[in-house]
Amino acid sequence: MAVASARQTDTAARLATLAAPDAGTWLRGARAQALERVKTLGLPGRRDEYWKFTDPRDLAAPIAPRAALFDPGDEAPAFDAIDRVNLVFRDGVFDAGASDDPALAGVEIEMLSRAGQADIHWARDVFGVLESQGQAPVPRPFAALNSAFAAEGVLIRVTGRAAKPVALEYIHSSEASDAMLHHCVKLESGAELTLLESGPLAARGNIVLEVDVADGARFHHIRAQGRDPECRVATHVFARIGAQALFKSFTLSANGALTRNEVVVDLQGADASAHVAGAAVGDGAFHHDDTVFITHTAPRCESRQVFKKVLKNGARGVFQGKILVRQGAQKTDGYQISQALMLDDDSQFLAKPELEIYADDVQCSHGSTTGAIDETALFYLRSRGVPLRQAQALMVLSFLAQALEEIADPVIAADIQARLEGWLDRHST
């Protein structure tokens, strides 16, 4: 009981620093329920099995640890060259002046801060709902905390095929900032949207994205989490996927003191696909955790998890990936791979792949490896005249390629690739 009461004390200390945002009736109700969930679940501690590899202390602390501002030098902001509707958030506060006019055919965009007054009926079925459903079988208290207190975010309803991506650009501009954003996306039948996210939210950030992908809809999500070395962030993506729908999410992370990215997907309609991928590159004080939970509820769905990490100078990578196949989900095709490439002997990769299957006619595979750059391949490149550093960079890109292949749009993929090449150039020794 000592643990439980310590947890309650910690949770109460965190809650004491937060104030419920103003909202209309429906949102107020959803937030009150979320607050109850936080109180019941309690914020996690190191003893929680789900946080065995990642210490949640800095994410749960009442006051956010400071993070120095970071100058990316001459590197252009992510997705800068892509024609998009860009919405800018500075330390979690929407900057309308720096943002594009959110007008896009087939797409309704509303800010969460205004949603209480404007009664957005569709959001009632999404906001806090997918998060709440995602609390079992494993609790995700930071997501509930976010539902209860995030004052800002974007609510996007897509009724057609969006002609260009919607981009959320986060700018970290104060050393002591502590921000939460809560986004909801609803794709109606047959709709299609690409959502981009870039940058670190704040010194400490908490982002929840709830995505409801109706039958036959297609959702592409690409994130570049920024290079700020001292920022900390917990993100959750909750997705509900309808029949014959597609959900794809890719995340690039390059340095960050603490990143925990949870993705929780439920394939509820038959013949749907969910692909979740990530490339994380860390040098030094870098802790990156991908925690993925994919549930196959409906039959004949396909899911892929492809996570690659490149680590050096004591960087730490974590992967917790699960495929749960429910009884009715026959003909499931599940695939999971998590791999780490160690550029020295000082880094660490902790992986916990899990399969839990209750249907008898399924195909599921998973694999996890940790290794160094293949010496034979490196020699092959060098024997062709490619200098050592360049050969190593090529081998790292070769290692990451399988994750990058999960990005459908070649222009976006090229942007991500260029960022990785830049990182390799700066961090090669």
Binding site: L381, S383, R384, L394, M395, F399, L400, Q402
Partner: protein, 252 residues
């Protein structure tokens, strides 16, 4: 061109395993030498030691290319100096396009030699001509390096790299292994097309049949880390008829 004197090498991690034991070899510009020998005689090790692969320790002797000490250089420097090794087992590199790889290699060497880099257009034009001669189609150029290539495709890809890099000293390590007669002929034609007064070849092979297509000027028989016989093309035929046992017995 290539001068090897009294070369001794052993495994780096086990100095008891001595592979090259006083090997001498002198290759003049414009000539084709072949090395034949039984398994374990040190043929592949010789190619690795010359090209700078890790895992071997040279304990005595020298190897120079046009007077430059090969053994003191990094593998990429040896390549820039004009040495090329066609691998027995070309390496697959997923995620790196064959074309990107080739262009990176060509331009890295040009840069090392103080030459201007080739533009994408120039490179594409040059590679197309050479690929066509080796019956390498555009699809193969686009695919990741050697991934999903058949044995013959991999070996043709090695020759394509050789043709693009234009080395002066080419070592072919069992290029015929795993090839059928047609594929071998195609590879041999590719090699013959590169024969030139300023370019030399060292062809390592188990079997005489490759030497029907790439006719050598000099044939060496290697055993136990040294050359035990040197002769003309007819020596390869003698081996084909009688095997290596007689030759080894002669020396012993």
């Amino acid at each position: 061109m290539l001068e090897i004197k009294n070369l001794h090498a052993e495994l780096e991690e086990d100095s008891e395993v001595k592979i090259l034991r006083g090997l001498d070899l002198s290759i003049k510009a414009g000539t084709v030498h072949a090395i034949m020998g039984p398994n374990g005689s040190g043929k592949s090790t010789l190619s690795y030691v010359l090209s700078g692969r890790g895992g071997y320790k040279v304990t005595a002797g020298s190897a120079t290319l046009d007077g430059v000490d090969l053994l003191a250089m990094e593998p990429e420097e040896r390549a820039a100096a004009g040495l090329f090794l066609a691998f027995q087992y070309p390496v697959e590199i997923p995620g790196v396009g064959n074309m990107t790889f080739l262009r990176t290699a060509v331009n890295a060497q040009r840069k090392a030699r103080g030459q201007a880099e080739m533009s994408a257009a120039e490179f594409l034009k040059a590679v197309r001509v050479k690929a066509k001669e080796l019956q390498i189609d555009a699809e193969m150029l686009k695919r990741p390096v050697n991934v999903g290539f058949s044995g013959g495709e991999k070996k043709r890809n090695e020759i394509l790299q050789m043709a693009m890099l234009e080395p002066k000293m080419c070592i072919l390590d069992e290029t015929d292994s795993g090839l059928d007669v047609d594929a071998m002929k195609l590879v041999a034609d590719g090699v013959n097309a590169l024969r030139d007064a300023g370019r030399s070849f060292l062809v390592i092979t188990h079997y005489q049949r490759l030497l029907d297509h790439i006719v050598p000027d000099v044939v060496h028989i290697m055993s136990n880390g040294r050359m035990i016989r040197t002769g003309g093309a007819e020596l390869a035929l003698e081996v084909e008829r009688n095997g290596y046992a007689d030759l080894k017995a002669e020396v012993a």
